[in-house]
Symmetry: C2
Subunit: 285 residues, 2 copies
Amino acid sequence: MLQLESQLSATQMPQSTKTAILAIGGAEDKVHGREILQTFWARSGAQTAKLAIIPSASREPSIIGDRYETIFKDMGVEQLEVLDIRDRDQGRDAYYLKYVDECTGVFLTGGDQLRLCGLLAETPVMERIRDRAIQGEIALAGTSAGAAVMGHHMIGGGGSGESPNRSLVDMTMGLGLVPEVIVDQHFHNRNRMARLLSAIAMHPDRLGVGIDEDTCALFEQDGIIQVLGRGTVNIIDARDLTHTNQPHIGARDPICMNNLRLHILCHGDRYHLYERRPLSSKFNE
Amino acid sequence: MLQLESQLSATQMPQSTKTAILAIGGAEDKVHGREILQTFWARSGAQTAKLAIIPSASREPSIIGDRYETIFKDMGVEQLEVLDIRDRDQGRDAYYLKYVDECTGVFLTGGDQLRLCGLLAETPVMERIRDRAIQGEIALAGTSAGAAVMGHHMIGGGGSGESPNRSLVDMTMGLGLVPEVIVDQHFHNRNRMARLLSAIAMHPDRLGVGIDEDTCALFEQDGIIQVLGRGTVNIIDARDLTHTNQPHIGARDPICMNNLRLHILCHGDRYHLYERRPLSSKFNE
């Protein structure tokens, strides 16, 4: 508990009643300090939280659902349900709808973001979750595939080891929880800079957010992004773009873009989503 | 010859007498259009060039020296010498010194940049080559390891697949041909964004230049960088850096940097090294 308290103070954690949307870059610490998962727990109401775990991105939903259930019960959560949605009909299940109406936090596990969107997009259960998360009524966290779905536009898959180009990334629709962003996860760990750049070239009005493993971009209601965890959150802002060869290029031609703004943020750093600027952090305050 | 002429015109190539320094990202086309090697050939004086090939970065200097000799002789070069320097004493060889005093172009092959610098740094032969290249008396090209040595600071080696951090990159001294830059090569091909970011965090006054394979950053005498080839040249400019955790961090802690400027340039794009801004290119002229 002492460890938890010192972490909360180190990350300037507000009261447990302040909801947020947490995009986690995958492979978050599940064993030791559990900083990111504890932050979600705190933002959901701590011991009084009523949590929904949605393991639908995974092809082993029972195993992954159980794993997070154990973690959050260890933290003292008594009300917890794994919403093991395996077909789209379950996305209108009356019991599930009632549960997401009453819960205080929803957790989307990792797996395949195309599977997650295929099962949940535009179902009543997901619409209700999204409305409540955007209204700030619940905390919502997604890790890996669960983070990839945050934006209106989503990276469905892609490659690495090439110059940025259109064929390096497969773009599709996300769940629109934070429509302004395009999220990429396992970011530096899987060398995804070129694919996020390729995605932003196609949608330069969106903000690219590349999140490393065991790292979290926590979106506050007021538009402030706070960074938690061991790695970096990488912001690609094409607002000042003065030149690109889009849409002249072919699928495998390299993309050029002039005047991108790039921020490499780490633990304790903050960024304003709407004002598109870094805020003072613990280091230069 | 028709093919060559159209390429020269496509890249707005000036007269063959205009020297330049060419940093090539490795794996340049040696068989088909040979655009980059032909540009070096043209900048060295075309058929009248007198070339020095320095294969010292390689552990197989004879093989790689022969390969480039064949290529440039195919282009019509009659005066060509492979300066197969294998120990530092040869770096003061009177014949080599006379040759580099009279040549019109020097080509540094790939291999290991630490080996190249170990053999050549501060030898009379290399000092003479550097002085003549900086004065614009000769064209100079380096590919892969031969490009890595261009800056005052050099990336000697490093890793990938991690958040940017100090231990991700080994910094050492380069040959100082273009002191303002830190070059990384095989850039997106080997996922080197995080290591170049790590290098720039240590030396934010330098300009990061990440060059893809079969791609060339051609430095003109007046400070204009021109891009040739199939991939991208990636410019990381930390001039507006407003915040970094350097030098507070430990070796493996992630690096943060606010307000980097990033330019992804491709064939035909131009950038001003001293003014640190992209210039109009064929697309928006």
